[in-house]
Structure formats: structure tokens, C-alpha cells
């Protein structure tokens, strides 16, 4: 009996909730499990489209109740848990051993659950009621910074992606990610989970391709509010940080740590959320 011919998947970008090819039609070839696959190679124009989608999604996302955002982020963990075979397979194809893939997927899901619980606590932990010396009710509290461009490190493809993006999104920001070209499969599998987890279109936008090509566009973009860059290339980081000064983006920059870092306790925390919020002080009169 003839063997069934499998159906292969086209590897696309994820912009504004849709899976799209690069506007340029360009792809890049990568070797995955002995097979050559072509993934979409995002261009500067795709990056700009993604920023537009992220900006459009931002108002709706930040205005959701924190509880609702928490539920949606938790839903992402649910979806990933039920699809963990697919994630493990994707990581396996890219070269991870079965146990390493299992560990990375588990750690990624657990991290998402951890942040799901943060959504409705950020404001409580980062707010102050200020004892001003005048008859005013005075509070300082965090708000999302806006659209954040993320350049995660190449590895671990799934866990680093989750660890950088999820805390940024859970406070109400939207993100555009210039993902690693080394393992587009992990990024795309994550996109599929995002697409089915009730995360509104445009909140998380994932671009595959070469960060060196698209990250400068994001770093210089006047409608991007913050930049999160992880790289082992110091000059690359410096270049992006410099471009980001044009509209005074908030910048978190970090040398790509060793892979073991990402499974440790230091790879999650309130200080992963804090760089991407703005503190707003409101003075309200008190009197009769």
C-alpha cells in the first residue's frame, strides 16, 4: 500500500492576527530535520505593518480589565498544554533532545501561568497613594508604555520568546517581535497558539526573518514606545539603542545570557514587567 503523502505547512508571518507571507514574497531557507524549508522573511515594510497592527490593538487591549487579560494569558497556557506535542516536535526538529524539548515546553507554559496571575496585581504592587500636603487625593500608578519592539535571543527559541513577550503583554502593552531566524518553527508554533487563545488580533505580532534587517526599522520607528533587545552582538545592541533615542524609546538591553539562565528563577519577576510601564500621577481634588 502506498504511504500517505503528508501535507506540509507554509511558514508565514503573524501580523494583526493573520498569517501572512512577507509583502516582498521573500523567504529564507533553513535546514530542519534534514529537510529544507522556506520561512517567510519579513521586510522593513512588514515590520511597519506589524507596528500599525500593534498600535491598532493597543487601546482595546489596555482597556480590558486586568482580570480579563489574566484569563486570556492563562488561556494561552491552556492551549499550549494541549498542544505540547506539537511544540516538542517543533523544538525536536530544530535539534533539541526529547527531554530538553519537554523541559522547555513545560517551563514556557509554567511561566505563562505565572504571568497570568500577575495581570491584576501589577497595579497593586506598583502603585502608591501619596500623602501630599494639600487637599488632594493623589495616586501614582502604572500604565502600559504602548507598542514594544522585542528582539529576543536566538535560543532557547520558545522559552526566551515567552519570557520576554508575555510579561510585556500582561501589563497591557502590545508587541512586535523580530524573532530569530535560527528556529522559525518554534515562533510559528507559538503564533498558532496565540491565534487560538483569544488574544486579540495585533496584541502579539511575530516576524520571522533576520533581526539585523528588521530590528533597526523597529528601533527607529516613531510609533514604537519601547525596545527590548537581547543579543550577543554588542555593536548591534548599541546601534539599536542609538536609533531608539530619536523618539526617546524606553530601552531594555541585555547581552544574550547562557541558555540555562532562561529556566532559572531570575528569568521571571516583577522587574520583567516594570521596564515597560509608565507611572502616571493623578491629582484629584478632595473637598465638599
Amino acid at each position: 500500500m502506498a504511504q500517505r503523502l503528508s501535507v506540509r505547512k507554509t511558514l508565514k508571518l503573524f501580523i494583526g492576527g493573520s498569517f501572512v507571507r512577507s509583502e516582498s514574497g521573500r523567504t529564507f531557507a533553513c535546514e530542519l530535520a534534514g529537510q529544507t524549508v522556506h520561512a517567510a522573511r519579513a521586510t522593513r515594510k512588514d515590520a511597519r505593518d506589524a507596528v500599525r497592527a500593534a498600535r491598532a490593538a493597543w487601546a482595546g487591549w489596555r482597556e480590558r480589565s486586568a482580570y480579563n487579560r489574566g484569563q486570556i494569558v492563562y488561556r494561552l497556557a491552556e492551549i499550549m498544554e494541549t498542544r505540547r506535542d506539537q511544540f516538542e516536535q517543533a523544538l525536536g526538529i530544530a535539534g533539541a533532545s526529547a527531554t530538553a524539548a519537554q523541559r522547555e515546553v513545560s517551563a514556557s507554559i509554567d511561566r505563562i501561568v505565572w504571568y497570568a496571575g500577575w495581570c491584576d496585581k501589577i497595579e497593586q504592587v506598583l502603585s502608591t497613594k501619596n500623602p501630599v500636603a494639600s487637599p488632594h487625593f493623589n495616586v501614582s500608578s502604572p500604565e502600559p508604555t504602548g507598542v514594544v519592539a522585542v528582539v529576543p535571543p536566538p535560543a532557547p527559541a520558545l522559552l526566551a520568546l515567552v519570557s520576554t513577550c508575555v510579561p510585556i503583554v500582561c501589563s497591557g502593552n502590545t508587541v512586535v517581535v523580530a524573532a530569530s531566524h535560527e528556529d522559525p518553527l518554534a515562533t510559528i508554533t507559538f503564533a498558532e497558539a496565540v491565534a487560538t487563545a483569544d488574544i486579540p488580533a495585533g496584541v502579539i505580532n511575530l516576524l520571522t526573518g533576520y533581526a539585523a534587517e528588521i530590528a533597526p526599522t523597529l528601533a527607529a520607528h516613531m510609533d514604537v514606545n519601547a525596545l527590548d533587545v537581547w543579543s550577543s552582538d554588542g555593536e548591534f545592541i548599541e546601534k539599536l539603542a542609538e536609533l531608539a533615542t530619536d523618539n526617546l524609546k524606553r530601552v531594555r538591553r541585555h547581552a544574550a545570557p547562557r541558555e540555562i539562565f532562561w529556566s532559572g528563577a531570575k528569568a521571571q519577576g516583577l522587574d520583567w514587567i516594570e521596564p515597560f510601564v509608565e507611572i502616571k500621577t493623578v491629582w484629584h481634588p478632595a473637598g465638599v
Binding site: 502608591t128 548599541e238 533615542t245 502616571k280 493623578v282
Partner: protein
């Protein structure tokens, strides 16, 4: 008095409205002069730099005059710190950091800061007079706002110095080291307090560079710090201009830069710090919207508008320089505003009756004038306080333009002077849209009788400080700082400590 109705509809209509006032008007009331005296302290003919606990002459001997902008008289000559002076100031700060300050007990740090707060209060009259003499602001403001707030700021952060573990639970806060701090000329002593107090509380040492035109109160503060017996080098004050500031920012042995000033200079500093991987906080320009809803308490709102834009001659980064009035209330608000500005007293800063003092410098006066002219060229009706101005010194009449378009230069660019741009809106959504239509995001004001409306609109404004039924209020316990191109980092409150403790995101 009636506001003359002008409509700028064509080139034939004169853009500038000149008004002749009846003798009964407030502007013609006679006030007896009530000048503050200052015969009880002396300004020396020249000043040095305060480095390592000593007063030293600048290495290359250069000095520059500092003026009283209300009279153009030279008050004294201060040192212009060159690169060699910057270098010794930073060395002194480094030495003080390693030898004394990081090792000294947190409570000792707290007690030094309390001492400074007390000493500022003790010498508050002298400092207020000096601030008005050197900066041009009315004595009423320096006496009631600048100096008390500066003392309060030191007092507030003194208390944090030995309680940092409560400010940052689970985070083991550590100082950064030596901070280079550059401050502006609009609130000279207050900005020095905003910079120095949290830095010292967290265990850093500092090199402070006051603004070129207003160095005096910073030098007095240095003397207060010297007399408070702070270990030498914990606070160093170097006077100078832009070159001195640039030398400070790019010095290789600095751990932190904090700057308050223009967005233009702030961006240059941001680029330098991006290259040097140096932590930086920036408090920059603004173009704040002051939003008047039709249900606002109007008399109170008009006072708020006045305070929002004419406080400190409009030399305020968070000044309410764009007035957004709900369309149904525009005639009423503009009429009231016109009447109110006629009763503003523009004149000698040291007179206790003065509402609006002198413009800080000749250069700033030229900039304000140029932007105001652009409003006229755009054909916007112009209204101003009709009063006599002193013959010497730098003066600008409180001014507002009506019928301003969002795209006008006077609606987009920071004027940093007593010039208000009036616009209208119909719905709350439109108010938010217009208020956020700026590259800045420092502050905003909302005037309404409805508390829920205040909170709703405040949440939608992209600005770091939002005042409800008030404007230009400050408190050391309350965070202040901008969104977008108004900079980043906060001053005041717990959040004001953050820029001065080690941040784990600094390794790249």
C-alpha cells in the same frame, strides 16, 4: 472691561489686538512698592567651584558673569568649569563614594539629609531672595513654592535613606556610584533638591551642574552642605554652560546621568548614554493640555489657567500651554481670561505684589518673541496684558492666542514663556485626541465638576502627571515625570528612588 472681538479671517484684519483701557480698570490701580530687602547678606564678587568639600578656583581661571534678568545688572562672576575641573569633581565624588558614603550607615545618611532640609528652611528667606534676584521669578513664588518644596524634598528623601529595603522588597537595592546631574534655570534650587536628595538617600555621590544663567542658589546649597559637615566630595557643585555639561556626561568614570532640560539637549544626552551604556533619566519638555469642560467651576478654572501658564513666567516644563475649552464655554472662558490677565502685575521680582516676573535671559526672550510672532503670522487673534513694563531687563507680557490650530507652531512647540494657545473641542473623545496630539507627554489638566469624568479622562491622557481641578501642584511624595518625548524616569515619591539604585538591566 469688554474683550475686543477680533476674527482673523483675511489679511485685512489686524492680527494684533491693541486695547486701550479705561482708567477704572484693574491695571491702572496704584500699588505701593513692597520690595523684599536683602541687605542682610552679601554676594561676593566672584565664586569658585565646590569640589571635594573645598572651594577651588577653576583650573584655567575662566569665569563668567551672572545677571539679574530684571535689571541686567551683573550680580557676580562664577567659575566656568573646564574638562579638568569636571575630572577632579568626578574624582572627588568617586573617592567620597568609596571611602565614606557607601560605607556610612544608612541612618547617618538620613541624618545628614535631615540636616540639609533644616538648614534650607533656616535660610529660606535668603535663598528665596537670591532665587528671585538671579532667576527673575516673583518673590511670592520663590518664597512660597520653590524654597519650601526644596526643603520638603530633602526631608522626604532623608527618611528613605535607611528604609530602602521597604521601598524595594526582595530586591536588595544598591547604589550606582557617582551621578552626574544637570539641572535647568527655571527652578534652580528645587531642581537641585530633586536631583541630589534621592541620589544621596540611595547612597550615591553627585556632581551637580546648575544652569548657566542661575548658578547662585546651587552655590548657596553647596555652602549649606559644607556647613552640614557632609563628608568632602559627597556633593560637588560645578558651574558652567553647555560645554561643562557635555564634559560631565561623557566623562568615562560616571555611573549615572540625570538631566532636566530641553528635549533637544536630552536627546543628545540619550545618544551619548546609549553609546556609553550609561543609565540615564531625562525630564524634558512639555506642551501640556489644560482641558476645560463646560461643567467646570469656571472662576476656579480661570485661576487654574492663569496658574498653569503664567506661573514662573511660563518657564515650566509642565506648563498648561495648550488650553482646550469645550465649545459651548469658549466665549465665557476667553472673556474671563481676558479680564483676568489685565489684573496681573508684571514687574520687579522682589516686589511682593508681583505676579509675573522677568524672563530668565535675553536668549529666552528672543525665543518666546519669535514663537509668538509665528502665532500672529498664522493669523491667530492675540490678547495680552496691557501694562507698563520696566525699561531695563527682560520682559514679556502675559499673552494668549485664540482660534489656534493643532498644526500651528504655537500649538506644537514648547514656548517656555507666558504664551497660551487656546483651542476648542466638542466631545470628551475629541478633547483626549487633541490633548494627546503632541510628541510630549509630561502633564495635563482637567477641569470638571464631575469626579468620574476627571478619572476617566485622566486615564486616557498620555501624560505623567494629570491635575484635576488644579494645576502646577508638586509634592515630594508624588511622582513626577514624562511619557513619550518628555523623557523617562520619575522624580518624587518611591518611584524617584528607582533611578538611583542598581537596575539589573544594565549588562549590555
Amino acid at each position: 472691561m469688554k474683550r475686543p472681538k477680533t476674527r482673523a479671517k483675511g489679511k485685512n484684519v489686524p492680527a494684533v489686538t491693541r486695547v486701550t483701557l479705561a482708567p477704572s480698570d484693574a491695571a491702572s490701580w496704584q500699588y505701593a512698592p513692597a520690595p523684599e530687602t536683602y541687605d542682610y547678606f552679601k554676594i561676593a564678587p566672584r565664586y569658585g567651584l565646590f569640589i571635594g568639600g573645598k572651594w577651588v578656583a577653576p583650573k584655567d581661571g575662566r569665569r563668567f558673569p551672572t545677571l539679574n534678568p530684571a535689571t541686567e545688572e551683573v550680580l557676580t562672576h562664577v567659575a566656568e568649569a573646564g574638562p579638568a575641573d569636571v575630572d577632579r569633581a568626578i574624582k572627588a565624588a568617586r573617592n567620597a563614594y568609596e571611602r565614606y558614603w557607601r560605607r556610612c550607615s544608612p541612618q547617618t545618611r538620613a541624618k545628614y539629609l535631615f540636616r540639609i532640609a533644616r538648614a534650607i528652611t533656616e535660610r529660606s528667606r535668603e535663598l528665596a531672595v537670591l532665587e528671585s534676584l538671579n532667576g527673575g521669578k516673583p518673590i511670592r513664588e520663590s518664597r512660597d513654592v520653590d524654597i519650601p518644596l526644596a526643603a520638603a524634598h530633602f526631608f522626604y528623601y532623608a527618611g528613605w535613606a535607611d528604609k530602602l529595603e521597604w521601598a524595594f522588597p526582595n530586591r536588595h537595592p544598591e547604589p550606582l556610584g557617582v551621578a552626574g546631574q544637570i539641572i535647568p534655570w527655571n527652578f534652580p534650587l528645587l531642581m537641585a533638591a530633586w536631583k541630589i536628595a534621592p541620589a544621596l538617600a540611595c547612597g550615591n555621590t553627585v556632581v551637580l551642574k546648575p544652569a548657566e544663567t542661575t548658578p547662585l542658589t546651587a552655590l548657596w546649597l553647596a555652602e549649606i552642605i559644607e556647613q552640614a559637615d557632609l563628608p568632602p566630595g559627597v556633593v560637588n557643585v560645578i558651574t558652567g554652560g553647555g560645554d561643562t555639561g557635555a564634559a560631565l556626561v561623557r566623562h568615562p568614570d560616571l555611573d549615572k546621568v540625570a538631566f532636566t532640560g530641553s528635549t533637544e539637549v536630552g536627546k543628545q544626552i540619550a545618544i551619548q548614554c546609549a553609546r556609553l551604556r550609561r543609565p540615564v533619566t531625562l525630564e524634558l519638555g512639555g506642551k501640556a493640555a489644560n482641558i476645560i469642560f463646560e461643567d467646570a467651576p469656571m472662576d476656579q478654572a480661570v485661576e487654574g489657567i492663569i496658574n498653569g501658564i503664567f506661573f514662573n513666567q511660563g518657564h515650566v516644563c509642565c506648563a498648561g500651554s495648550r488650553l482646550l475649552v469645550q465649545e459651548s464655554a469658549i466665549e465665557l472662558v476667553v472673556d474671563k481670561l481676558y479680564r483676568r490677565i489685565q489684573s496681573l502685575r508684571v514687574g520687579p521680582p522682589l516686589d511682593k505684589n508681583t505676579d509675573v516676573g522677568a524672563i530668565n535671559s535675553k536668549a529666552q526672550l528672543a525665543k518666546i518673541d519669535e514663537l509668538a510672532r509665528s502665532g500672529e503670522q498664522a493669523g491667530r487673534p492675540r490678547y495680552q496684558t496691557e501694562c507698563a513694563l520696566p525699561s531695563r531687563g527682560y520682559w514679556f507680557r502675559p499673552t494668549f492666542f485664540t482660534e489656534v490650530a493643532l498644526s500651528d507652531r504655537i500649538a506644537q512647540e514648547e514656548i517656555f514663556g507666558p504664551v497660551l494657545s487656546v483651542m476648542t473641542f466638542r466631545t470628551p473623545d475629541e478633547a483626549v485626541e487633541k490633548a494627546n496630539n503632541t510628541r510630549y507627554g509630561l502633564s495635563a489638566g482637567i477641569w470638571t465638576d464631575k469626579g468620574s469624568k476627571n478619572f476617566k479622562i485622566a486615564a486616557q491622557l498620555r501624560a505623567g502627571v494629570v491635575w484635576g481641578n488644579t494645576f502646577n501642584k508638586f509634592d515630594p511624595s508624588s511622582a513626577f515625570g514624562g511619557y513619550k518625548e518628555s523623557g523617562f524616569g520619575r522624580e518624587g515619591g518611591i518611584f524617584g528612588l528607582l533611578p538611583y539604585v542598581k537596575d539589573r538591566w544594565r549588562s549590555a
